[in-house]
């Protein structure tokens, strides 16, 4: 499952989510503002609370809305 670490008022997160939907990718939203557990996970993956962070395995991740890198990560 693709996980997207994000928060509501983050425009880049919203752009990323729209993009994934448009490519037919299902994903789980992990809100780092509302969910402390999600914040901890995000911190562990990338070392910071900057988002969006997209990951499948919790190890390899893409920070930011970078289409090329996201396509490569997800193989789409």
């Amino acid at each position: 499952m693709v996980k997207v670490y994000s928060f509501e008022s983050c425009p880049w997160c919203n752009k990323l989510k729209k993009y994934l939907t448009s490519r037919g990718v299902e994903y789980e939203v992990r809100d780092i503002e509302l969910d402390e557990e999600a914040a901890k996970e995000c911190q562990k993956i990338s070392g910071d609370l900057t988002v969006p962070v997209t990951t499948v395995d919790g190890k390899n991740y893409v920070l930011g809305f970078d289409k090329a890198k996201i396509d490569a990560l997800l193989g789409i």
């Binding site: 928060f7 425009p11 997160c13 914040a39 910071d48 900057t50 988002v51 969006p52 809305f65």
Partner: protein, 181 residues
């Protein structure tokens, strides 16, 4: 008319009369949704920590008018946002800061201190100006707020003494603040 005549709402919806800040040095800033110029958030927090005991208050006014507009090409901008934990200065309700729909406070501030150009030595100054010229030329006209993190410095008597553009980092105005404390 003075700064102390304005009443605004905090981000918790509580009305706040700026007269409550009489005797304090104020830095009024239009903030953004934690994207792009994010380091300024952290630097503002640093300023606040350093000077709050000596009478500095920072008032942040979130505004979406510039939030999704990018001052550069895809490589130049950072396409991510940082969750803003740890900011302890007062944040107010989201609202407009430029144009007809601007909050009265910002109409007043920009009337008191007009636009005098960007600080060209800031790494983003040139890109910001070019992007504005290309996409929002009307933003460059007049004294309205040009971009996120425009800062107004108010002395202890409510006088608007200085305006700093987004291209002036919070750190670099520490000396101006000290003079007023």
């Amino acid at each position: 008319m003075s700064i102390y005549d304005f009443t605004v709402k905090t981000n918790k919806g509580v009305e706040k009369n700026l007269g409550d800040y009489k005797g304090k040095v104020l830095l009024i800033v239009n903030t953004a949704s934690k994207c792009g110029f994010t380091p300024q958030f952290e630097e503002l927090q640093e300023l606040y920590k350093t000077y709050k005991d000596r009478g500095l208050e920072i008032l942040g006014f979130p505004c979406n008018q510039f939030a999704e507009q990018d001052p550069g090409t895809a490589e130049e901008i950072q396409s991510f946002c940082k969750l803003n934990y740890g900011v302890t200065f007062q944040i107010f309700e989201k609202g407009d800061v430029r144009g007809e729909t601007a909050q009265p406070l910002f109409k007043y501030l920009t009337a008191q201190k007009g636009f005098k150009g960007f600080d060209k030595s800031h790494p983003i100054a040139e890109k910001l100006e070019e992007a504005l010229k290309k996409n929002f030329p009307e933003y460059l006209e007049g004294d309205g707020i040009k971009w996120n993190f425009t800062k107004f410095l108010i002395d202890k008597n409510g006088n608007v003494v200085e305006r700093f553009e987004p291209t002036t980092t919070p750190k670099s105005i520490a000396a101006d603040i000290e003079k007023l404390l």
